[in-house]
Symmetry: C2
Subunit: 123 residues, 2 copies
């Protein structure tokens, strides 16, 4: 793994690079630490069944908090807490309508990720 024998092997099989070359080639082609952190925070949101249920409902239509509670048979605190997390992570947005709050998905990425994931586990 340390020094290898490439310099005196110009005519060696060239299908595979040495491990050292492979490592040097790819380590600069990935996002930086901060982006991985942010991305993992983003995906973490999808890693909870309650939040997925909410996302699933909102991919059908926009809904207020109480409708979400009823459709999922969950208590209001639970839904409200998860909505806060979804909001904080830019996954849902909402609009106040009198004393109600109508929630919707922020953009199509959310729906795409949800649907590709669902497709993956169903096959």
């Amino acid at each position: 793994m340390e020094k290898n024998n490439l310099e005196n092997n110009e005519d060696m099989c060239e299908i595979f690079d040495s491990h050292e070359d492979v490592v040097n080639r790819i380590k600069h082609r990935i996002p930086d630490e901060a982006e991985f952190t942010e991305l993992s925070e983003f995906f973490k949101i999808f890693g909870n069944p309650t939040r997925l249920k909410i996302i699933s409902l909102l991919s059908i239509e926009d809904l207020c908090v109480c409708d979400i509670c009823e459709a999922l048979d969950l208590n209001q605190t639970t839904v409200s807490n998860q909505l806060r997390i979804l909001r904080a992570n830019n996954i849902v947005k909402y609009q106040k309508e009198g004393k109600m709050a109508r929630y919707s998905l922020t953009d199509l990425h959310i729906e795409m990720i949800y649907k590709v994931g669902l497709e993956h586990i169903l096959e």
Copy 2:
């Protein structure tokens, strides 16, 4: 939240369905409990920066464990543990080659989800 006043409001504004109707309409159009559990377990895997880094590398090319360790500057135990989790969740597969194990992503869904997520946080 308990019984509402729908029955005596036949002539109410009909642009929006009653909450009761909305709820009944959508609650049957979402996956079942077991599927949400499975899907959340699946997404949970993407919710860790180390695993995302591995997925990111493997989306460039197949790699053995030691190359992953070097490229990410992580200790072997950490990488191996995360690879086990990735394997158990059907996100990577591997192929033994002598004493080495060459890992790759199981299918295109994984790469798609990773890339759509990255796109989402970068905009």
